[in-house]
């Protein structure tokens, strides 16, 4: 206790729950989380969230982005990132009193190229649903649970959905964000009501048409491309209540 300094009493780390949407058979499986397979003594060979110890002069935000850079090779400088909560129960780590500040990151699954870093065997995108919780190292299953709840809630009262889409996207793509994360049956919600949920954005020119059609033509009329130009920190004036919707058949 010299020179007014306090003695460190814990190890502080950050872990990051990275969410994205990727193509999959089932709509529910489109929502995926980034997991690494550990190659270290503690919890070796177990799946875990990417994380690092926080450096002496580093903010949590910087540490979280560094974790993604060094462990998974991802450049997360511009990604949406927010603090989720701090997990510090004694005994959550066998190597001492480790306190981990968990974060959530969202990214569009465009140009993301994975590269395993130090202490990592492999990296994988894993569907959020049906993930065997016990298989995760430490209390990372708890972190993931909290992260899932946080993002599902935020989808309803904020504009974070756009963080999971590329710059230009169709309204169908936007809808698929909601259906993958909240409820697959939203896929069958009719267009009119879906658009109305974003009417305030259209009115405020925050969600603007690019004046182009989507190039990828599967079947049917291609959708218009839109661009979200507003601040993501904004929130809805009224929360979405799509839980209670009873969807009819696929019209026609």
């Amino acid at each position: 206790m010299e020179s007014n300094q306090l003695t460190p009493n814990a190890v502080v780390a950050v872990d990051v729950v990275v969410f994205t949407l990727r193509p999959a058979q089932d709509i529910e499986d489109r929502w995926q989380v980034l997991l690494v397979r550990r190659d270290e003594p503690a919890f070796g060979n177990k799946l875990a969230l990417p994380g690092v110890l926080v450096r002496g002069d580093e903010t949590f935000d910087k540490a979280a982005r560094r974790a993604l850079q060094t462990k998974t090779g991802l450049d997360a400088r511009d990604w949406y990132l927010e603090q989720l909560g701090t997990f510090g129960d004694p005994g959550r780590d066998t190597r001492g009193r480790v306190v981990s500040v968990a974060h959530v990151a969202l990214v569009a699954s465009d140009d993301v190229e994975l590269a395993a870093g130090s202490g990592i065997q492999s990296i994988d995108w894993v569907p959020v649903r049906g993930l065997p919780a016990e298989t995760l190292a430490f209390d990372h299953a708890d972190m993931l649970r909290v992260a899932i709840n946080r993002i599902q809630a935020k989808l309803r009262y904020s504009w974070v959905a756009f963080q999971l889409l590329p710059d230009e996207f169709t309204l169908s793509a936007l809808r698929s964000v909601y259906s993958a994360i909240l409820d697959p049956s939203l896929e069958r919600l009719n267009t009119s009501n879906f658009r109305k949920a974003f009417s305030t954005l259209f009115a405020s020119k925050t969600l603007v048409s690019v004046g182009q059609r989507a190039s990828v033509g599967k079947v049917g009329r291609p959708g218009e491309l839109y661009r979200f130009v507003g601040p993501i920190t904004g929130t809805r004036t009224r929360e979405l209540r799509w839980d209670s919707v009873r969807f009819g058949a696929v019209g026609a």
Copy 2:
């Protein structure tokens, strides 16, 4: 780095934002926060949130309640307490890398007796509004800001309001929780609409009449006493939207 142990790299502390409602001239001043005046070398004589360093075998929850016990003499064992967020910018404390896990606690201002603990000059309830932010030690003004937003938001979608009331209370008292924290003009919202905001609770027998009248008779008809018997973790099915209400004059 012996026996697989990690070396501590930071000091972990907890700070607690304790909110209550207390009698005051202006409705807005009824919402108050518990602050202590420090009597220590670092930030001496400054107002701060009560807090302690986390012990090696202690959860954050336990540490937070201990902070209230040892610093302010309050028995917070049964109080509503939740984690708010973690503040750990390098340089937020001059005594080293101190990471503080901030919490929010709510308590009914009944039988709470303050008693200054070690390192504390005095303790005071201070109105949340018009609090000169610069006067707080460390980054506690930031914590308070986040806490204010958190509680205001939670008031709209959860039942935390009841945590600020004694076991038995009138609907006027309940309304005053909302008017003190959200908007003073809610005081003039008519009874009918206010009751409707709790109709689901009445229907589910979660908010039950005690069958008694409030004893304190100022003027007018005394209100019935109610008791909240539900789990506080529940949330509203629809969020309150009392921001947009335009209140008329005080009828008649």
